[in-house]
Subunit: 221 residues, 2 copies
């Protein structure tokens, strides 16, 4: 796999002054547009875009206004044009190489998942520290030793990693990745990681999310 | 597995007027307290509790104030007492039975995961619609046909489900679960599900999260 996306210097405003929830919705709008495109729909109304998300059309317009002017009043949006714009905003108009770090049950499941490709994300390498896990090939991707990460990451321009290691290993693994050029980590381990300057971390914590759900159930006593 | 937690009538305020982020932090505070307990620490300062989360002690006090008065000024918190209180607030002072729905790669990985037990969550049943996936036993849990869900859920008092099905199946599966008594769904499929009244849904969408991370990288052109 060749280097796909070269890192550019960081923009002056870092992080950009757009709420995270707005960025998430940009991704969800784009997904909706892709589904419309697949159904042969060429123009999208605000109402059609917001319906699956259960938010108002005003919210959509407010979200988009962070990034410029889109669509025409009363005519809705061109599906092709808006999806191209959203890809550009999100940065997935270009391909990104992604590493999966940790090849246990969860990491292996991610290597088998085909959904990232449509986002222009190519899971191109996998790593683990356990010798019994390295050397295996999952869905065409060889699991390598963590010690190979620096070389493979440099060769493939890997700046994005999905961290699927145990709670005990998460902090050290993240530090190692960051030391070797990773700028964005999707952390799936149940440890809250905070990011040093210039690095983005998203903590997706199933345990925390489940416990929060139980709490919301409201059946406490 | 016997019925563990019986459903109580819904509280009058639904959902409770506590921001979701506060509930998530309650779960993270509890995790921190558990780690302190494991290290033999009996009293926790605000500073020690907030350090791993990179937030202020004032935020901790504000979060806790939603639920009552805790700790003594200048003395910090009793690790045992606060963790018992947090469990009660979160509702995980009692055990909950949980179903994993979808036994593909991701669902199977969840069945192998041991981390939920410490939250008093017992993954006690797994379901899939594909005949080739049913009948398998993963980590002691038999994968059953979805058609068995109503009976198994009723027998085991299952009101919480982790949805690990494909994007195409997610909406129908969620509707079926809700129809048969599920009140809380952790949705891991890359579809945004909205919940009917009285049901809680948490959408954990790796694709959306990854795309948001790429955007935050700020290297768009």
């Amino acid at each position: 796999v060749k280097t796909i996306t070269k890192l550019k210097p960081q923009p002056k405003t870092w992080p950009p002054a757009v709420p995270l929830e707005v960025l998430r919705r940009m991704s969800l709008y784009l997904r909706g547009l892709n589904q419309m495109k697949a159904r042969g729909v060429s123009r999208a109304t605000s109402a059609a875009l917001v319906a699956p998300l259960n938010i108002s059309a005003a919210q959509l317009r407010k979200d988009l206004s962070y990034f410029g002017k889109f669509g025409k009043c009363g005519l809705g949006y061109s599906v092709d044009a808006l999806s191209a714009d959203l890809k550009k905003i999100l940065g997935t108009n270009k391909a990104w190489n992604v590493a999966v770090v940790g090849a246990g049950a969860l990491g292996s499941a991610l290597l088998k998942y085909h959904g990232f490709a449509e986002l222009n994300l190519r899971v191109c390498a996998a790593f683990d520290t356990a010798p019994e896990k390295t050397g295996r090939v999952i869905n065409g991707i060889m699991v390598r030793s963590m010690s190979e990460f620096p070389e493979v990451a440099a060769q493939n321009g890997i700046h994005v990693a999905i961290l699927a290691v145990s709670r005990e290993s998460a902090e050290a693994a993240a530090a190692f990745l960051i030391q070797h050029g990773v700028k964005a980590i999707l952390n799936l381990s149940s440890v809250h990681l905070t990011a040093p300057a210039g690095v983005c971390v998203s903590n997706m914590d199933m345990s925390c999310e489940l416990e929060t759900l139980i709490c919301r159930l409201g059946f406490r006593s």
